[in-house]
Amino acid sequence: MPSPEFVAALKAALPGQSVLTEREDILPYGFDGTATLKGTAGAVVFPKDAAAVSAAIKLARTHRVPVVTRGSGTGLSGGSVPVAGCVVLCLVDMNRILELDAKNLTLLAEPGVITQRIFDTADAAGLFYPPDPGSMKISTIGGNVAENAGGLRGLKYGVTRNYVMGLEVVLPDGAIAWLGNKCVKDVAGYNLRDLFIGSEGTLGVVTKVLLKLLPKPAARQTLLATYATMDAAAETVSAIIAERIIPCTLEFLDRRTLRCVEAFAKVGLPTEAEALLLIETDGHPAAVADEALRIEAICARHHALAVRRAATPEEAVRLATARRSAFSALARLRPTTILEDATVPRSELATMIRFISAVAKKHRVEIATFGHFGDGNLHPTFLTDERNTEEMHRVEAAMKEIFEFALSLGGTITGEHGVGLAKKGFLKQQLGDASFGLLKTIKRALDPEGLMNPGKIFDLVETEATPSVPHGA
């Protein structure tokens, strides 16, 4: 627990800004969107600007209190789960959009702005902010940058990193630095901005984000294709890419996911199908019309049971929104829902899907699979019960095999959720000694005291000889 002196100093340094220390106030900051992980902070503060963040960090350093930064707490790898006794910097009160520069197509926002609001603000100006993580109605842009969040449009438009032009960050010593600018081209010095994107709060705190916007696509068309087998759906995806078509969205839902999503969203999804592809193409109207026709033909060739077009833009939005609820909707089935995001090169999708089914059978665990097929980013989701220790052991064993297999195919342990606490046991295996060591070198250089979100992504001092899955621990 932080000392009363530290709390008093915090309150004095952040006048007019909340500093919470009561149990009832801080318990609800003990988790993010990740199953089975929790911790208890010593205090939660709500800074209103970079100066307040800097003041809080300096005080934490003086008193040697760990600092965990947090937005809306929707992360899926435990990145913002508090370290015992830490101070949580919750940035939701820094929620202003500071500038929309229509001449340079940029938007400057504070980190607590909700992702959806960034999208809406750009949209109202005829512009487009593509990254759309499943939680975009709730997640903050600061959290998106810290975790380098992806979304449904990753295949064509990339992830958060591809839209960050500049960052204001508070460094572990309290200094405030600007990284990047509005220039499309800039090769002055190391690209430090990219170092902070996806750093999960371990190197500093993002206090402003300068985002790149695109012109809004003139047209879009959404298609739904259903299949009797998962393989047929996977083959369709490979065929679409092989025919040199890059849709904006190419999502996959298996039967279990489909049923849960439909039970919640009631948007008329065909629940009798084994697999469903949700495909969206966007761009120039003529190109969209042409791509839609070609995609329909490819689906038919690959034994789609039915291919349907969304009749209206509203229906398209309803379908995409329903898809975004997939992870939460799966929680209907079992008490504990553990979402993973193993990702493989697209050519290996069908292999990976078959492997996941086999692992589920072998370990007698329930796995629902959905995800961003177009970019190889799968979401095998374990449906289990954290109170059943024996079952949790089988879940961990299955998870380990899935990670290892994904790596053997040239994949990654996380496509878009970050490493956080949930996947840090596997990071070294993926990166190899040299690149893993480089992470530590950087961390030690920037945060010698190791106070910024300690124990996330990797441990500075490795205590365990073998990797283990912290879920259910």
């Binding site: 009832e24 318990l27 849960c260 939460s328 929680a331 019960d385």
Partner: protein, 452 residues
């Protein structure tokens, strides 16, 4: 006032999977009015569930702060509509409030007295409730209310009560039993359905016209209507305020008062009551004598809008006069719809009232922003949490006025009063505030207008 029970946490006794169902994804956050107001997790659905779970796990006691938090929650259930995981927040909320009452953390002599008088005395005794209604009517009809307001006598009530006094509902001269026969036959044609109408408490005293209209539209649609006399309170007030025992007792009395086997449906026209009435099956699931009947009750329970759409209600025709060739076209009235939380979130009835409103001749339905947001009435919330209730009321009134509608339809007496008071205060003097009306009253009027 509640009997002292053994020191077993009600939250711990709850099926743990109900708590586990929340996977804290946060999808509920932007739909929760109190979280939007404060931006603090404690004031959000997943934050409250985290506190409840901490109590069930014996990591936290039912403290005063916990109690205050549970009463800061509106119980609007917007989170249940937003929740993809299907968390049963209604059950968690009621159990948590019962836990708070059991803990006694919020007890004060004044609170105890008010709770006893309202929950255990007035709303347990239909005759007392109606006698009080009668007195209130006399006070209002005799002009004494106006006189005392003019003379400033209401200030004698003290600051808090004097602030609430203008919100006192206007009591009807006749209550439902005076307007509705115990049995009424369909207007014409053979009987197609036999239904039972529940008249409610506030609805009965302040909106007996809504009950009359309900019976009228049912009769227009081939229903024979039974309306039991001197009905009891449904117990929703008790369940939402942590008095489980009284809620169960009132549910049993309702079941005793009716013969379920002879009716096709039980009809409620008040969103708040209906939401509770539907859950008698859960409320009495461990009551050996009543459980089976409670299941049948819940199976037959329908909101009036839901039932009318289910039986394919007859769409009203334009009034006879407007069909005369050469007659000027009837003008169009702009109307907006405010959804009662417990109708749209509690009962998931949202499409049907709109279907009815769209069927009305000469009416244009204009959707208002945040139609599914709470207006701040939330049972007795406007009395217990006037600040947040006022903020919500102002927000709601702004959205309603922005539509330019002259009519606001809503299907719950609490919302009706909250909107009426808010619109009156929100309009400049001389400006005509939109009129608040129950959708079924409009439908009944449309049927009546057919005949010219």
């Amino acid at each position: 006032m509640e009997p002292d029970s053994p020191p077993v946490s009600k939250l711990a006794a709850l099926d743990y999977s109900v708590l586990q169902q929340c996977m804290h994804c946060g999808m509920c956050l932007p739909t929760c009015p109190t979280y939007v107001e404060t931006g603090r997790e404690r004031n959000s659905p997943r934050g409250r569930i985290a506190l409840m779970r901490a109590i069930a796990d014996a990591e936290l006691e039912a403290t005063k702060a916990f109690g205050e938090e549970m009463y800061y929650c509106l119980g609007c259930l917007a989170c249940t509509t937003a929740c993809p995981a299907g968390v049963d927040y209604a059950v968690l909320f009621e159990t948590a409030r019962a836990e708070v009452e059991k803990s006694g953390q919020l007890r004060t002599p004044q609170r105890n007295a008010v709770r006893w008088f309202a929950l255990r005395f007035v709303f347990m005794r239909p005759r007392v409730l109606r006698a009080i209604g009668r007195l209130l009517w006399l006070w209002q009809a005799s002009g004494l209310q106006k006189t005392s307001r003019r003379l400033g006598l209401t200030r004698l009530l003290g600051k808090k009560l004097a602030g609430l006094e203008p919100q006192t509902p206007v009591i009807r001269r006749q209550f439902s039993d005076g307007l509705i026969e115990a049995v009424e036959a369909p207007t014409k044609g053979p009987r197609r359905h036999r239904v039972l109408v529940l008249t409610g408490c506030v609805q009965d005293l302040a909106f007996s016209d809504v009950n009359r209209a309900t019976v009228d539209v049912l009769r227009e649609n081939g229903c024979e209507v039974l309306t039991p006399r001197a009905q009891h309170c449904c117990g929703s007030l008790h369940a939402h305020n942590g008095d489980e025992d009284a809620a169960r007792e009132l549910a049993r009395r309702q079941l005793d008062a009716v013969d379920l086997s002879t009716v096709d449906a039980i009809i409620s026209n008040a969103g708040g009551c209906g939401s509770h009435l539907r859950h008698y099956d859960h409320l009495l699931h461990d009551d050996a004598r009543y459980a089976a009947r409670a299941v049948e009750w819940s199976r037959k329970m329908r909101d009036i809008h839901e039932w009318l759409v289910e039986i394919d209600f007859r769409k009203p025709q334009p009034p006879a006069a407007s069909k005369v060739p050469g007659a000027p076209a009837a003008s169009t009235t702009a109307l907006t719809y405010h959804e009662s939380c417990h109708l749209c979130h509690g009962q998931k009835v949202s499409r049907q009232p709109r279907e009815i409103l769209k069927s009305l001749p000469g009416v244009e339905l204009r959707e208002c922003a945040e139609a599914t947001w709470c207006c701040g009435s939330a049972g007795v919330y406007n009395i217990t949490q006037p600040e947040t209730a006022g903020w919500l009321q102002t927000r709601k009134v702004g959205h309603v006025l922005a539509t330019g509608a002259t009519l606001v339809a809503t299907a719950n007496p609490g919302c009706h009063l909250q909107l009426e008071n808010g619109l009156k205060a929100g309009c400049a003097p001389g400006e005509c505030a939109p009129k608040v009306v129950h959708p079924i009253v409009l439908l009944a009027q449309a049927y009546a207008a057919e005949r010219g």
